[in-house]
């Protein structure tokens, strides 16, 4: 087993890539993918810790996160398909009707 720190650094690295993507990209599909990156980075960290403590808790939590991610992807893709079908621009910045 390598030092846990490497796993955590990798997880942080992937997380930051995901955050950067969510904050800067305008295409909803790409944002969704980056969101997945963030979630899986979290998963990685969870599994690493689980291995470190010898506890199975982290892995179970990671499974739950995967379920949530799957559900969220379903909803997100549904929204994106609806956007596409209604010929709305695939640009998240232009979806601003819920402003104050």
């Amino acid at each position: 087993m390598m030092d846990i720190a490497w796993y955590l650094v990798l997880s942080a690295f992937i997380f930051c890539i995901g955050v950067a993507g969510v904050l800067t990209r305008r295409s909803p599909l790409v944002i969704l993918i980056c969101l997945e990156l963030m979630l899986n980075a979290g998963n990685l960290a969870l599994v690493a810790f689980s291995k470190m403590t010898g506890n199975g808790d982290g892995q179970i939590f990671a499974l739950i996160v995967m379920i949530v991610a799957a559900a969220e992807v379903v909803v997100g893709l549904g929204v994106i398909v609806a956007m596409f079908r209604n010929r709305l621009p695939m640009d998240v910045d232009q979806m601003d009707e819920l402003h104050g």
Binding site: V19, V22, L23, D93, E97, G100
Partner: protein, 668 residues
């Protein structure tokens, strides 16, 4: 029956009459309502006689009886019962009021026939008599004020009787508001009296007055001045007199009853009734006498120039009441009341005769269009002359003795009161002049068109037009009814006029100085507590004043004869020469204009300022201001809600990072 039982009957009959007529107002056909009303007042008069007899059967010191029905207000500090006081003064007033009212009711039965508001008229007229009787019979200040206000209301209702007439409606509200001003004065006086003496009923208040207030203490002077506010508002003395001439908008019998014989005398009654208070506050009594004198002079001058027949008589009323006010203010109580009685006779008669003339003139009241009516209307002209003789204090008439009684008393009081005597005598001269000015202008000379028509037996008819505004009258509400009634053709009008004419001429015999003393003796028990109870003009003084009075009267009639009969162009010349004075007089000394400037216009402007400016700017400003503050805050906060998801995400991340950093650093 006891005197107080008769007293309650006096009140009950007119009230019952009023309610009966009102409830069945759709049922009464023809003149029924009129006879019901007259009958009710006739019964009231009979009850007054009953009260008189019952009272006189008691010894003089026992002639003040009270009786009450129930507790009206009985709470901490204020105790008012519905109670009446029957004493000589009250009975005197009851007799005069119910007697003259009865005659005027009978007159109205014929005069108001064919008016669409016939039943309403008699209901109101009965209610008025009830109120006036309530006022004079009231046994405490509270009930007096109630009667006072009811009388004011009845007056308003009858002035604006022809309510589709704008001028009548305006006159009504003017009379009502001035009356309320008087009411407020009375109320505050009553509260002050209650505060200091702890009672509101007359016997208690007058008994305690001497021990509670010192002579001429400012409180009692203030109280008396407030009572005067009420008295002057009701009796049309300066400066609260402006409503009376406008009140001529009402039907002529109303003017006869309310604005000549009864309501306007209420102020005189009030001063006489509260004489113990006035004798404690000589300052107030003197002010009252001075205003009475000023008023009689003022009204006399105006009566010399106005051309509306009823308004001349109205100003004459104001002037004569000035005499009465002057009389009771200088403690000539029986003289003042005597003049009240004789004035009721001849002034009511004068209005009745004027009504007949106006009916013959198809509703016109302008003397400029009247002349030579004596042949066409013989009875009316004789009646009018009888009234004018009494008014002018022609020697031997009732007016002669009653007016002189007051003036002699003023002379007897001496010192400063001689001024009152002089003013009164000058006033007597003016009275004679304007009284016969009316006679000569209306009845003497060549018959005018309406008179000639009447001589041929045809009563003139014209489309009625409001003389003040020129707009056609709305005859739907009666004015004037399609028929006119003149005395020559209606027995119901002639009978009362005849009786009043006889009374105007001969009633003076009951109070000839040093010969007969009926009025003084009758009223003596009420005024026994007066400091001036035994003051009586000496024989020499009486002869002097009687002679001077006769001189004034005869000279006045002679002057009138000269100006209006002998040398017809004289009055026009006088008007041209004294144009400025004439304008001043014709505008009634500019009182109305002064009120308009000082009261009406500022109030209107205040109301407009309040509603347009203050309400909109300040009050609405508060709510608008609050709303604006909230909206401003809103626009500040709004900026953050751009609707762009990425910015929300950025905000989220920034926040999380900040928190994480905080905890990381804090953990160190």
């Amino acid at each position: 029956m006891t005197a107080t039982a008769f007293g309650w009957l006096v009140l009950a009959f007119p009230l019952a009459g009023s309610i009966t007529i009102a409830l069945g107002f759709r049922q009464w056909r023809g003149r029924t309502a009129g006879w019901i009303g007259s009958g009710a007042i006739g019964l009231a008069f009979a009850s007054s006689i009953g009260a008189l007899i019952a009272l006189q059967s008691r010894s003089p010191s026992q002639r003040a009886l009270t009786s009450s029905l129930w507790n009206y207000i009985a709470t901490e500090g204020v105790n008012v019962k519905l109670g009446i006081l029957v004493d000589p003064l009250a009975v005197f007033m009851c007799l005069v009021v119910s007697g003259v009212s009865f005659l005027i009711h009978v007159y109205s039965v014929a005069y108001m026939d064919s008016d669409r508001g016939y039943s309403r008229y008699f209901s109101y007229l009965n209610f008025f008599v009830f109120s006036m009787l309530l006022l004079v019979l009231a046994g405490n200040f509270f009930l007096l004020i109630v009667g006072w206000a009811f009388v004011g209301f009845a007056s308003y209702a009858l002035i604006s009787f022809w309510y589709r007439r704008r001028t009548a409606v305006r006159a009504g509200i003017k009379a009502f508001v001035i009356n309320v001003v008087g009411d407020v004065g009375l109320v505050i006086a009553a509260i002050l009296i209650q505060r200091d003496t702890g009672a509101l009923d007359f016997p208690a208040v007058f008994a305690r007055a001497g021990s509670v207030w010192h002579h001429n203490e400012w409180v009692i002077v203030a109280i008396c001045l407030l009572i005067l506010v009420g008295a002057f508002a009701k009796s049309a003395q300066i400066p609260l007199h402006t409503w009376l001439p406008d009140a001529m908008e009402g039907p002529t019998p109303v003017s006869a009853l309310i604005h000549a014989a009864t309501m306007v005398t209420a102020g005189v009654y009030l001063i006489a009734r509260t004489h113990p208070l006035f004798e404690l506050a000589p300052t107030a009594a003197d002010i009252s006498a001075a205003i009475g004198a000023l008023t009689l002079f003022f009204a006399g001058t105006v009566a010399l120039v106005v051309t509306d027949l009823k308004r001349v008589i109205a100003y004459s009323t104001i002037s004569q009441i000035g005499y009465m006010v002057m009389g009771v203010s200088i403690a000539a109580y029986s003289a003042g009341m005597f003049h009240l009685m004789t004035h009721a006779f001849f002034k009511a008669l004068m209005f009745m005769a004027a009504g007949s003339v106006i009916a013959a003139m198809a509703g016109t009241q302008d003397m400029d269009r009247m002349s030579g009516m004596r042949r066409a209307m013989p009875f009316t002209s004789v009646a009018f002359v009888a009234a004018a003789l009494a008014l002018a204090a022609f020697p031997g008439t009732s007016g002669y003795f009653s007016k002189d009684d007051i003036l002699a008393f003023a002379a007897e009081r001496g010192s400063g009161y001689w001024i009152l005597y002089v003013v009164g005598t000058v006033g007597a001269l003016m009275t004679a002049i304007y009284a016969f000015r009316m006679i000569f202008r209306v009845f003497a000379g060549e018959p005018n068109e309406e008179a000639r028509e009447l001589e041929h037996g045809h009563l003139a008819h014209a489309e009625p037009v409001n003389p003040l505004t020129g707009e056609p009258e709305d005859t739907d509400v009666g004015f004037p009814g399609p028929e006119h009634h003149i005395a020559e053709r209606e027995a119901a009008m002639r009978a009362p006029m005849t009786l009043l004419a006889v009374l105007s001429i001969v009633a003076g015999v009951i109070q000839i100085p040093h010969v007969t003393d009926v009025v003084t003796d009758f009223l003596a028990p009420t005024f026994a507590d007066s400091r001036f109870a035994d003051v009586e003009p000496s024989v020499g003084l009486s002869v002097l004043t009687l002679a001077l009075g006769a001189l004034m009267s005869l000279s006045g009639i002679a002057i009138a004869y000269l100006v209006w009969v002998r040398r017809p162009g004289t009055s026009a010349q006088l008007v041209a020469r004294f144009r400025r004075t004439h304008d001043f007089l014709i505008h009634k000394w500019y009182f109305d204009e002064a009120y308009d400037l000082l009261v009406v216009r500022p109030m209107t402007r205040l109301g407009q300022a309040a509603s347009r400016t203050f309400e909109r700017v300040v009050i609405d400003g508060v709510s608008q201001g609050a709303a604006m503050v909230v909206r401003a805050g809103n626009s500040l906060v709004r900026v953050a809600q751009s609707g762009i998801v990425r910015y929300y995400a950025l905000a989220l991340m920034t926040g999380v990072t900040a928190l994480a950093l905080y905890f990381l650093i804090a953990a160190k």
